[in-house]
């Protein structure tokens, strides 16, 4: 075991996940591949969604992979940053909207 939890080289080993559970691993990668095919959304749009979600999930492997994937698809850095702000806005909005629960509780408890 390495001294750090995350190693960029581990991303290359992702495909080996199938070794310890071939059927489930293959089902996952089939699904994963299908999701990112061109459909009602372009592969480029999907890449930007993946980039934003990578940040909200704070997954270093995903950020690495989808930054590169976005560059490969000609996405500009301005577009990438805007996508991340969308993720950040939802993440902070999701925190803040729970404030209504706090307000409800305070209103119920206080005289």
């Amino acid at each position: 075991m390495a001294n750090n939890y995350y190693d960029p080289k581990d991303l290359r080993k992702f495909g080996k996940i199938t070794q310890w559970s071939e059927e489930l691993g293959n089902k996952f990668f089939d699904y994963y591949g299908k999701v990112f095919e061109e459909g009602a959304l372009t592969a480029r749009e999907k890449s930007l969604i993946a980039l934003a979600v990578s940040h909200t999930e704070q997954c270093p492997y995903c950020i690495d992979a989808y930054t590169k994937d976005s560059l490969e698809r000609g996405v500009t850095k301005e577009q990438m940053m805007e996508a991340i702000h969308v993720g950040a806005a939802i993440k902070s909005g999701a925190t803040l909207v729970h404030g209504t629960m706090m307000m409800n509780k305070v209103n119920k408890l206080e005289m």
Partner: protein, 355 residues
């Protein structure tokens, strides 16, 4: 006027100006210790070794390494300070070959081929040989670089030249970062001139194709999707039209190799290339249908091998002894840079090599 980077690796006396040094790097490290398979080993695994030529289709002639630009990724290490220029005497030898070749495509490249003082004379003579597709790889900015080049669109039209031009992105920032400040605006002006004489217009027989290559240590995206993006952005923003986009992978040689090493991206990039290896791309890789001729008349399997000074593995290595039937009986010279042409959908001077 574009503000461009000033000097080639050669002029800067950078060690990567040496073909031998580049080959040393490509044959050592991760490829020597077995961490990654060599290209020879990889194509052996898919029963494609040795790589052999098929029918000759393209004669690619590099008429000199002089260029008005010094692009970050240039595999030629071209620039204003490069003095290697094909002489008229060598051009005459090329003309003899062109008259008798079985190839249907003639592809002039450089540097900026237009900077060869005999460029126009050569095009005029070569166009009389009845070649089906006559390509000139023009960097676009040359058309705007000096008054004497302003009429190139009309000249190209007169000889029905198929113009293939580099355009790394549809935005100014990405283009100028790779090719030099001001290059994007100059390229747009040149494209306007080409469109004005009919190049690239829908249904026009005056063919104008653009070449896209990535702006850094990553592979090109899907060629058809990129073409769609380029077309819609250039039309909406500048009213520019063109026919096809060729997506070309940057090969790890010369200035791009220098960039990969300096930015500590070399190993990761080689991993990407090897992991994206596609045996179907090997079938159609351009060295199987092309012969590349250098400014001094030597023969190579491709322009990349030319820059690595990997001459043809044949008793014929120079245009003075040119013989297509003898040349067809050779093994193609390979090294690790070849992974660049077999990654993903494959890469060649005509873009992807698989459908």
């Amino acid at each position: 006027m574009a503000k461009l980077k000033q000097q080639s690796l050669r002029k800067r006396e950078n060690q990567l100006a040496s073909a031998n040094r580049q080959l040393e790097i490509l044959n050592s490290g991760i490829f020597a210790d077995g961490e990654l398979p060599t290209f020879a080993k990889k194509i052996k695994q898919t029963n494609q070794f040795p790589l052999r030529p098929k029918k000759l289709e393209i004669l690619q002639i590099n008429v000199g390494y002089m260029c008005n630009q010094v692009c970050e990724h240039c595999h030629v290490d071209a620039g204003p300070d490069r003095k290697e220029i094909m002489t008229w005497q060598t051009m005459q030898k090329c003309l003899e070959v062109i008259k008798n070749t079985g190839a249907h495509t003639l592809d002039l490249t450089g540097g900026a081929p237009e900077m060869n003082p005999n460029f126009r004379r050569f095009v005029e003579k070569a166009s009389q040989a009845g070649i089906k597709d006559f390509i000139v790889r023009s960097n676009l900015t040359i058309i705007r670089a000096n008054k004497k080049y302003h009429d190139l669109p009309q000249f190209f039209k007169k000889y029905n030249i198929h113009v293939v031009s580099s355009m790394p992105h549809w935005t100014r920032g990405k283009t100028d970062k790779q090719r030099g400040e001001g290059v994007f605006d100059m390229s747009i002006k040149a494209l306007e001139q080409l469109n004005a004489v009919g190049y690239g217009m829908p249904g026009s027989s005056l063919k104008l194709d653009l070449v896209y290559n990535p702006n850094g240590a990553y592979l090109p995206g899907d060629q058809a999707s990129m073409e769609k993006e380029f077309k819609s952005a250039l039309l909406a923003d500048f009213n520019i039209q063109f026919h096809h986009l060729f997506a070309i992978t940057n090969l790890p040689i010369s200035r791009f190799l220098d960039y990969l090493i300096a930015s500590e991206n070399y190993e990761e990039y080689m991993y990407q290339l090897v992991e994206a290896y596609n045996p179907a791309a090997v079938q159609n890789v351009m060295c199987t249908n092309t012969i590349s001729i250098s400014w001094d008349g030597y023969l190579y399997d491709c322009d990349f091998n030319q820059m690595l000074d990997l001459k043809l593995a044949s008793k014929i290595t120079h245009i003075n002894q040119y013989n297509e039937s003898i040349l067809s009986n050779r093994n193609i010279v390979i090294s690790q840079h070849c992974f660049g042409c077999t990654a993903g959908a494959g890469s060649s001077c005509q873009g992807v090599v698989t459908t």
